[in-house]
Symmetry: C2
Subunit: 208 residues, 2 copies
């Protein structure tokens, strides 16, 4: 298998806090790299809040500004052939549609997980605080979440493993012609290929 | 001549308002495209203030935040092989050095033009207002500008035409191995080549 340059596209995750956006994004990223698509950028909520949107809060206006900035960067990457994954809550339909309009190749992934399950899991303890009224503007509790009406992919993270969700997304990317189809055998790497890929990742600064 | 993918790099312009950063950046961009390097992004001050930094002012802190955001985007583009040009005043040495540290292939271009000349030209009428005290934090008048100590290229826009300044930068990019050297004859395009390049530009969404 050669390492090859894929087309640029943006996989846009949307879903509640704790639904698994970043987790599944990272699995998708790994799987793309296993297939020789090395230059994948993941823009998750935390990275973006640090590098593009420090100082912004969680009002509708600030959230929209945050999403516009992510969309701007995704647009630049996509039109230059760099596959990228955005993983932010992005609760408002209108601004997601704005992102869709800005970005040439846009694949919306709805990361669905029932609120009860998220409240029950509450990995970061945020839902507890939000319910107690300690976090204002918390999506799903004190702020709205508008479900996508027609996302390219829907994953259900209370029913699927991250691996399965990621495979759904990869199949959609194949179907849309953004990545080449591979058979199971082809997707396994020889040690030489693995070393080649690792070298490439080092050159690109992804790993030490 | 083939259109070819160049290495990623960031040409970082720094200089006073009105010194010609955006003008020269656009000429560099055109010249790179003439050489078949099509995917060049120009991030100038206005574009960035609109898309990444709306709401930020011109205090040192806000300027630094603005530059950090530009550096973040340039870093992403550069490490994915996309040549890009940043054209913001970026008056503070420390934050330019931060950008240099973040970005793998960084070429600092000092756009030098004496303040008297800029005040005299005053294309946008900003210097007049700044001197009258109507614009606070105006670089060169009521805010400092720290000259680069060791830029890769210095251009003098009161003495050189934009074309000449751009050529200086291209020669440096050649010398550093970021773009291939071309002879004068090679750099001329046949009508077929020109059409091919225009088609590529349309596909990439740069032109209609």
């Amino acid at each position: 298998m050669d390492t090859h340059k894929s087309k640029g596209f943006t996989v846009w995750f949307t879903g509640l806090s704790g639904s698994g956006k970043t987790t599944v994004a990272r699995v998708v990223c790994d799987k793309l790299r296993e297939r020789g698509i090395m230059n994948v950028e993941v823009l998750d909520g935390d990275l973006v809040r640090t590098n593009l949107s420090k100082g912004l809060g969680f009002s509708k206006e600030d959230r929209d500004t945050n999403i516009k900035r992510i969309a701007f960067v995704c647009h630049l990457l996509t039109r230059n052939g760099v596959p990228n994954i955005a993983a932010a809550i992005s609760p408002y339909r209108e601004i997601r549609d704005y992102a869709r309009g800005e970005i040439k190749h846009f694949i919306e992934v709805y990361v669905k997980c029932p609120l009860e399950v998220l409240i029950d899991r509450d990995v970061k303890g945020l839902y507890k605080k939000a319910i107690a009224g300690e976090i204002p503007h918390f999506t799903g509790i004190s702020d709205p979440y508008e479900e996508p009406l027609n996302p390219e992919v829907m994953i259900e993270t209370d029913k699927e493993k991250p691996e399965e969700s990621a495979d759904k997304i990869l199949r959609k990317l194949e179907a849309l012609g953004y990545i080449p189809r591979v058979t199971r055998a082809e997707s396994r790497l020889s040690p030489e290929e693995e070393e080649k890929i690792k070298k490439r990742l080092r050159d690109l600064g992804y790993i030490e």
